[in-house]
């Protein structure tokens, strides 16, 4: 059947060589087809080209179909929509088919006619190719799912015990999330016993850490602003407290039970200035200036959710922060960035919140106390150059003292802590490339975890190339 509804927007009366391919595929109007046939009748070169095109088409059609085991498995069994089928437009019941001109399609070639005409086409191919057909697939799928689950559990446990892939024995990414029960669904069910056992060990270590002299004795608070520490704790509490209230039997509870005798946050010197701040009261301090009105608290930024938190949660968070900081001093900003990335990738609402924040050009500074002047200068410069909004300051405690380091190394093979500063910027990918080109060591752009960007999922609107919103992690100069 001729595709009479095709509009090519070109001159139908003048022969064009590319019509030969369309003629071969029966994709010309009748008028164009007539013109081509007249040309072919008098032009042997055109006839030769047509023959070659036909042969080329046949060669591509004869490319092998996929063989071997299927790696693709069905995704998780969650219902993807709340829309009823009646609300959705129904497909066409039939579709105009374009016959293939010339030599017939190879038997191995899938085309529309095959698919539409024979519902069992693919199954027939499977049977023909592997001799077992659908039976093979029927056991392969659950086997693949089971293997995937085992792999995930094994990797999760291994990462937990060994400190992750990227760093030399530091705590792995997302540890604080895990402690508070914000584990991904894929790791939640199968290995709880092992995970809880592991968590209990870490909680013991946490209790030991809590009993140690407070870190930060050698370092002064950032510009004499101890609130920034509270802000950090508050922000972190916001960020990681979302699901805890709803997970009574999580690892976080196990950790809390073990650490119930741990000193309060005041005794840890993490928040020496009075009671903890509610999310809306948390001081949002840029390294240069206060954030503009309406700046989102970190929780909203990360998770786009309402936070209900308690003194218990604050204490738990700060205790966990102590643990986190001790473990991840080496690349603490990176660790936080990874957690952020995990959040935005694991939670669609978080991803959307991150994208919204990216739209607003928010910037976070994760600075160790004391932040170096270089870090301040760079942060301020980036704020100006890229018109970013300083959201809040995440000020981390200082280096782990020698005794703690020794303890950590002995228990967890930790490396010696090295202070650093990390900036987290919500920018476009093009801006991220520019920033890294200017400020990252040569060859480390988007390679080393300290100099990389993360593209949050969940963006509903596709952005042009280079304009994708990313979260840039940048280790600032020391």
């Amino acid at each position: 059947m001729k595709p009479t509804n095709i509009e090519y927007n070109d001159d139908d009366t003048e022969y064009r060589e590319e019509w030969l391919s369309a003629y071969l595929d029966d994709e010309l109007t009748e008028e164009q087809q007539l013109i081509v046939e007249q040309r072919l009748a008098r032009d042997s070169a055109a006839q030769g080209t047509l023959n070659d095109l036909k042969r080329i088409r046949g060669l591509v059609q004869q490319l092998p179909l996929w063989s071997g085991p299927m790696a693709a498995v069905p995704p998780p069994t969650a219902i993807p929509t709340d829309e009823s089928p009646e609300d959705r437009p129904q497909p066409e019941e039939s579709r105009e088919r374009i016959p293939v001109r010339g030599a017939g399609a190879s038997p191995d070639t899938l085309n529309d006619d095959d698919v539409d005409a024979d519902d069992s086409f693919n199954l027939r191919h499977l049977r023909a190719e592997n001799g077992k057909g659908t039976k093979r697939l029927s056991w392969l799928r659950p086997a693949a799912i089971a293997a995937s689950l085992l792999l995930i559990v094994g990797l999760s446990y291994g990462l937990w015990r060994n400190g992750g892939l990227w760093r030399n024995g530091d705590g792995g990414p997302g540890l604080a999330l895990d402690r508070l029960g914000k584990r991904s669904a894929s790791t939640q069910a199968p290995a709880d016993s092992e995970f809880i056992e592991s968590q209990a060990v870490e909680a013991e270590l946490l209790a030991e850490m809590a009993a140690l002299p407070a870190p930060g004795a050698e370092a002064a608070p950032l510009s004499g602003e101890p609130e920034s520490i509270t802000a950090f704790g508050a922000a972190r509490s916001e960020a990681f407290s979302i699901e805890s209230d709803n997970l009574p039997s999580t690892l976080a509870d196990a950790a809390r039970e073990v650490t119930s005798d741990a000193p309060s946050k005041e005794s840890l010197n993490f928040a020496p200035q009075g009671p903890a701040l509610a999310p809306t009261q948390a001081p949002a301090q840029g390294m240069a200036e206060a954030p503009p009105d309406g700046a989102q608290p970190l929780l909203e930024l990360l998770l786009g959710n309402d936070a209900r938190w308690s003194a218990e949660m604050i204490q738990s968070e700060l205790q966990n922060n102590a643990m986190l900081n001790a473990w991840q001093t080496n690349e603490r900003g990176v660790g936080l960035g990874e957690q952020l990335a995990r959040s935005v990738n694991a939670d669609n609402a978080a991803a959307q919140a991150a994208n919204r924040s990216a739209e607003a050009g928010h910037a976070l500074a994760v600075a160790q106390i004391p932040a170096s002047e270089d870090a301040r200068t760079l942060f301020n410069r980036l704020l100006t150059d890229y018109q970013l909004q300083p959201l809040t300051e995440l000020a981390l405690p200082a280096t782990v003292d020698a005794e703690s380091s020794s303890l950590l190394r002995g228990r967890s093979k930790m490396a010696q802590a090295v202070p650093n500063q990390t900036l987290i910027l919500f920018v476009t990918r093009r801006q991220a490339e520019q920033i890294l080109q200017q400020h990252a060591p040569q060859g480390s752009n988007n390679k080393a975890p300290q100099y990389m960007w993360i593209t949050p999922g969940g963006g509903e609107v596709a952005q042009p190339d280079g304009e994708e919103r990313v979260i840039l992690l940048l280790n600032s100069p020391r």
């Binding site: 391919s21 070659d52 080329i56 993807p80 929509t81 019941e93 698919v115």
Partner: protein, 191 residues
């Protein structure tokens, strides 16, 4: 097939995710073949196919039914492949750290049985297709390997039908030129 697809889609959306397995089973081999030839990397094709089915599952409510389900699926897969290419291109602009280079080189090595599974002609054609620029490669695969018509390709790639036609023609001519050395064996006369 359209009816069966819609049944499985409706069942999935009605709360029976197992119905989605029918769609996966029906189309995974076809999709894998397309992605495999489009990227020349079996492992990557498998990864992209998995991601495609996962994405499609979560976006299933957005499937309007105006095109074939497979066409919609293939579009998602090709978009993911394009994203992957863009990411790799950016990465390749910079020097790699040793570990990453080692990992990447391992993962990008073509499995020995991949080529063994094809005859000599197919190997030549595959290598020639790899040399095509991306846009032409995708169009020729969608037309000649997948058998989609021009209108479907145009809709999938969001380009005018005239562009499909010209890209396809150039792709075929370029393939002919690339296979010049094998012209006699492959039955090609004009070069």
């Amino acid at each position: 097939m359209l009816h069966l697809d819609q049944q499985a889609i409706d069942a999935t959306l009605d709360g029976n995710p197992a119905a989605y397995a029918e769609l996966v089973e029906r189309y995974q081999r076809r999709l894998l073949g397309l992605l495999w030839h489009a990227c020349s990397d079996r492992e990557l094709a498998e990864d992209i196919a998995q991601e495609t089915f996962a994405r499609a599952f979560h976006k299933l409510s957005l499937y309007s039914g105006e095109s074939q389900f497979y066409t919609w699926l293939a579009r998602i897969g090709l978009n993911l492949l394009a994203t992957n290419r863009r990411r790799k291109r950016l990465e390749n602009q910079k020097s790699r750290e040793g570990f990453e280079v080692a990992v990447e080189s391992l993962s990008s090595e073509r499995p020995p049985d991949e080529m063994a599974a094809m005859n000599e002609t197919q190997v030549c054609v595959r290598q020639a297709i790899e040399c095509l620029e991306k846009e032409r490669r995708v169009v020729i695969l969608l037309r000649d390997f997948e058998g989609l018509d021009y209108a479907e390709i145009a809709a999938m790639l969001e380009i005018p039908i005239g562009t499909v036609r010209s890209r396809l023609h150039r792709a075929r001519l370029e393939l002919r030129a690339l296979l010049h050395d094998k012209a006699v064996e492959l039955g090609l006369g004009e070069t």
